[in-house]
Symmetry: C2
């Protein structure tokens, strides 16, 4: 770790091969970061695919709820999800706060879309191609 | 779809077998919703596992950045991620707005943790077991 605050200019710079050449003392860290970022990108690709499937499912739920006259919100279901995701996060070694932020994000977005479907009388076509 | 607003009381209620028995006209929808929810729960389980891996990777990146003296933020990397996730979302049939909300959520949380590691002089032990 460098304590030279005079070198502050490069602390904000992008981590790439140019950076590594300019500061050979950080080359090993730059190489490791580059490798880790590839794994992070792979994880993101998998999560985006899963989110796409999740929203396809919730769109179907939204259409069924609207057709049957159910409200978009279901608080008992949400309680179940909060407890379950907390438990799964702990098991997986993930900060449960992050699982809860994830849950709020997907549930909020799904509910918004359910309301739009309900307003259109149960027609999921009200959502665009990304519904 | 029911237009009987007088029945508004059950529109807010939980979707379960009791609900289906009370309102047999919605039994098919309830059964379908129950099945879809199982798939949604399976997707969530997979995403929680992937998020756990993602934060393990970003914790390592945070420690390497702190050791090399890099700032937690890297705007060039963020631009790359924004463009890539948008493209992946469109390919997967996911609303790109959702991909962007996802990206903001994970990057914000990762950066918070990177800052904590940097403040502790590159020691990822500063984060608890969920780091």
């Amino acid at each position: 770790m460098s304590d030279t605050d005079t070198n502050n200019d490069w602390r904000e710079s992008t981590i790439d091969s140019a950076q590594a050449q300019e500061h050979p003392e950080t080359a090993l860290e730059v190489a490791k970061i580059t490798m880790l970022r590839q794994s992070i990108d792979n994880v993101d690709m998998a999560i985006i695919a899963l989110l796409a499937e999740r929203f396809k499912y919730t769109t179907q739920v939204g259409a069924l709820k609207a057709r049957a006259g159910f409200a978009p919100a279901d608080y008992k279901r949400e309680e179940y999800q909060i407890e379950r995701l907390h438990r799964l996060a702990v098991d997986a070694g993930l900060d449960p706060d992050i699982a809860e932020i994830y849950r709020e994000f997907v549930v909020t977005e799904a509910k918004k879309r359910h309301q739009r479907i309900a307003d259109a009388g149960g027609d999921p076509g009200v959502l665009d191609v990304f519904a």
